[in-house]
């Protein structure tokens, strides 16, 4: 411990003495860490369990069945939606599911933005709002906070009702006004039954500013399922294949299948179609790419460390003359570099937060554009300040430090004592 304190003191003294070296070292480290952390945060925001998508690790999306004609049958246009009765017949009885929600993804058919206006206020200009058509189970899959009113209920089926977010409510009716019961014009008239706290569009499967209750006659093109605890995607796929098989048997012309139609959350988000199911697996698979991204800054820092070690050869010679072992000197060099690396890490984190806040649209589009982006994203605190993010940042610092310092330090400490001490400064 005492040794550590001495090393720390020496490291801080050297930082003050060699400001340029320290500045370049810290800048290089900060850049590397910022880049890595931006990627980590983007993936975290898209894949980890965050409000309101708190069940992402158990959420699976099911697309309509694929159809292939049986022998000799004519190929018809594929029906790429579910009807309400089909959802009840095929999905509700499944044993591996906890919740089933059947919705219509408006963005596939129209725009996901609908103009709404307040008829009571004739001067009010219509505003476009991101919209989803959902059933009552949508609010069991995703955890929304209701400011006024309540989620859709089964009893309210077939009524023209909607839920809006608080920011839209304030735009339409003013701050602090409870709009529950008021009518909203979307082209037709809909009664407001609830107001939710606004959510970030980064959680795009749940994001909307207007939720419209999907009618019984409406087509649904996406089923969102929360699996029961302990059940896996494979269990669900097995059950669904049985459903598809039964349908195929009862059909004269067509074979049906749910193959490649069952997508865990992470897989849906990543259009590359990975088979990995958890965001932790995905991060692990990203590790080689991240390693290459850290390699170049580490090489930079290695050069700087090598130069500095050369200047410190006489010092190392003297230490060895007084009994220091090579391992002890290695520890010293690594610890001194760690001080600089941690400073770089802190600066890097600030740069990360700045980038994510100021340039969030560009960042989420550039890095996250394997994910689909529908609206301007907002960044919530838990995305930036989760313990996991700090842990990743610290781990990255350690890795960079080790990569940068070990080899130059080891090479330099191989010099014989006399040669080291006679080195011209």
């Amino acid at each position: 411990m005492n040794k550590l304190l001495i090393y720390l003191r020496q490291a801080l003294h050297m930082m003050r003495e060699e400001r340029l070296f320290s500045a370049i070292y810290i800048a290089g480290t900060a850049l590397a860490i910022a880049f890595t952390m931006v990627i980590a945060v983007v993936y975290y925001a898209k894949l980890a369990d965050i409000e309101p998508e708190v069940n992402r690790s158990r959420t699976v999306y099911v697309l309509p069945m694929s159809e292939t004609p049986k022998n000799g049958a004519e190929l018809k246009e594929e029906k790429n939606y579910f009807l309400s009765d089909e959802v009840k017949e095929w999905f509700y009885p499944l044993k591996s599911v906890e919740v089933v929600s059947a919705n219509l993804r408006l963005e596939e058919w129209h725009s996901d933005k609908i103009n709404i206006w307040n008829k009571e206020n004739k001067d009010f200009k219509p505003i476009p709002v991101a919209t989803k058509m959902v059933d009552e189970n949508f609010f069991r899959v995703y955890h929304f906070q209701f400011v006024y009113g309540h989620p859709f209920t089964k009893e309210e089926k077939n009524l023209n009702i909607c839920i809006i977010s608080r920011d839209i409510s304030e735009k339409l009716f003013g701050k602090g006004v409870d709009p529950v019961g008021k009518m909203l014009n979307l082209g037709g008239e809909f009664r407001i039954v609830g107001v939710t706290e606004p959510t970030s569009s980064i959680a795009e499967q749940s994001f909307a500013q207007l939720f419209v209750y999907i009618g019984e006659d409406e087509a649904r093109d996406m089923i969102t399922i929360v699996l029961k605890e302990g059940c896996s995607v494979a269990d669900l796929e097995k059950e669904l294949e049985e459903v598809a098989h039964k349908r195929s048997v009862s059909s004269k012309d067509m074979n049906y299948s749910f193959e490649n139609r069952v997508l865990p959350h992470a897989q849906l988000q990543m259009s590359g179609g990975r088979t990995l199911s958890s965001w932790k697996d995905i991060l692990i698979s990203l590790f080689p790419q991240v390693f290459v991204l850290l390699l170049v800054p580490a090489l930079n820092l290695s050069g700087l460390v090598a130069a500095r070690m050369k200047r410190r050869l006489p010092e190392m010679g003297v230490r060895k003359a007084f009994g220091a072992k090579r391992k002890e000197l290695m520890h010293q060099v690594i610890m001194e570099n760690l001080v600089l690396t941690l400073c770089g890490g802190i600066v890097g984190l600030f740069i990360t937060w700045l980038l994510l806040y100021v340039f969030r649209s560009w960042v989420f589009f550039a890095i996250g554009s394997q994910f689909t982006m529908m609206s301007e994203p907002t960044i919530e605190g838990e995305m930036l300040f989760s313990p996991f993010i700090f842990l990743i940042a610290f781990a990255v610092c350690l890795i960079v430090n080790m990569m940068a310092a070990i080899i130059p330090a080891w090479l330099s400490l191989r010099h014989p004592i006399v040669e080291s001490m006679n080195q011209k400064k």
């Binding site: 590397a32 933005k113 170049v296 130069a307 890095i367 554009s369």
Partner: protein, 436 residues
């Protein structure tokens, strides 16, 4: 001077070896990132052949958010769509409005055509003759002023754009490159027949237009235009393409008319306006896997590595400041100029970079040859138009991209050297020699 440069590099090899390794790694990574960027930018820079900068696309949608699948509804909707079109036509800023039959702007699906022979069939397989080509086939709605709205120019000898927009669906319009491929010239193509291979139907060529270049992921200009008056096509087309007058700014037009309620008619409205150029990119379902690369991420990655390289060079050079200052003092004491000394420092960077680039090129060639990596060349489908540009010529492609990478790295290294070197050469000789 070269001897001094090499001596300097060798004497500081402990530091320079790290810089050298970093240069090789950065050159290699820069190669992988800059290849698709350069290819994409090159294709984007090719002249489009139509007036994309004057076009705005209006997306229509029903104001009733209910799902209806009914033929009479579709006919009705087509009629209402036309009414909206007429409303738009009355605006001062608008020159022309057209209903488009395609969902993705001018990007079209592909089809097989033959120049002069029928296709043979052996069982389930089609056997194509030597003159088979794979083209983009674009449907346009008859009497919708398609060619005028998009500003597609007609070739010499061809009927006017107005006439071509009114063609019946038994004829086709082809692009100049197809005309020249089969018949030698645009004029010679008019009135001839070509054959749509899969359905074995012949088509009379009614007109030839100049090539348009729509995709930024390949070179293809083989395009065939087919008119249609199918009502369902009009329904599917929820796009209205607006050609603005020459002096009208697209963004200002969109902002002015953003209160879209004024265009609502009988259950149909405009959802939003988009500049044409914004819809013609990323969601390109016909982009090849290689070129559907994330452009922005490549740029960000390349910039990241280059900044790191710059920092590395600055750092390495600055660590040698004391020795260099002394050296600079001695040289100036013996008559050298600041410029010459600066030139020597930059030349060191040049030598190091050149050597690194040479190694990188060898590594990259092996990387490509062993199949671990590829050059960014759009895959060539059978019968598709051969790409005459440098992109498809492998040796030239390799040389050009190597050149671009080399230049960029050289500039980065030069910046990295200049910043500390400038301080060094500015030191007075007497102060520099005092350092010793």
């Amino acid at each position: 001077m070269m001897k001094q440069i090499l001596n300097n590099l060798w004497s500081q090899r402990t530091q320079n070896v790290w810089l050298f390794i970093e240069l090789v790694v950065v050159c290699f990574v820069a190669w992988t990132q800059l290849d698709p960027i350069a290819v994409r930018l090159y294709y984007k820079s090719l002249p489009k052949g139509f007036d994309s900068e004057r076009l705005v696309v209006a997306n229509t949608r029903t104001t009733d958010i209910q799902w209806i699948d009914d033929d009479s509804y579709n006919t009705n909707r087509a009629f209402v769509q036309k009414m909206i079109k007429q409303k738009l036509q009355t605006l001062d800023e608008v020159e022309q409005v057209s209903l488009l039959g395609q969902i993705q702007g001018l990007l079209a699906p592909r089809n097989i055509f033959n120049g002069s022979s029928w296709v043979d069939q052996e069982g389930e397989q089609y056997i194509y003759g030597n003159d088979t080509i794979l083209v983009y086939e674009l449907c346009y709605i008859k009497n919708e002023h398609f060619f005028e709205t998009y500003g597609i120019q007609v070739a010499d000898g061809s009927p006017t754009a107005k006439e071509l927009s009114k063609l019946d669906d038994d004829g086709v319009v082809i692009s100049r490159s197809i005309a020249e491929h089969f018949f030698g010239s645009a004029k010679d193509a008019i009135g001839k027949e070509i054959f749509e291979a899969d359905i074995m139907m012949s088509r009379r060529i009614r007109g030839v237009v100049e090539d348009i270049h729509v995709s930024d992921s390949n070179f293809d200009t083989w395009q065939i235009y087919q008119s249609t008056s199918d009502i369902k096509m009009i329904f599917i087309s929820n796009h209205l393409t607006i050609r603005l007058k020459p002096d009208v700014n697209v963004q200002q037009f969109i902002e002015k008319y953003n209160c879209l309620q004024q265009f609502a008619t009988d259950g149909l409205a405009i959802a939003f306006f988009t500049p044409y150029e914004d819809i013609a990119t990323p969601k390109n379902q016909f982009a090849t896997p290689i070129l559907s690369y994330d452009f922005n991420l490549s740029v960000a990655t390349a910039i990241f590595f280059l900044i790191n390289l710059c920092l590395g060079v600055i750092g390495t050079f600055w660590m040698q400041t004391k020795r260099r200052t002394e050296e600079s003092g001695i040289m100036r004491a013996f008559g050298s100029t600041k410029r010459r000394i600066m030139g020597m420092f930059l030349a060191e960077g040049f030598v190091l970079t050149t050597f690194s680039m040479f190694i990188t090129c060898i590594l990259y060639l092996n990387y490509v040859k062993t199949g671990l990596g590829t050059l960014c060349i759009p895959p060539h489908e059978p019968y598709a138009q051969p790409d005459p540009t440098w992109v498809a010529d492998k040796p030239l492609h390799f040389l050009i991209i190597s050149g671009i990478v080399y230049l960029i790295i050289l500039i980065t290294v030069s910046i990295g050297i200049t910043i500390p070197a400038w301080n060094i050469v500015r030191t007075k000789p007497v102060e520099a020699l005092r350092e010793e």
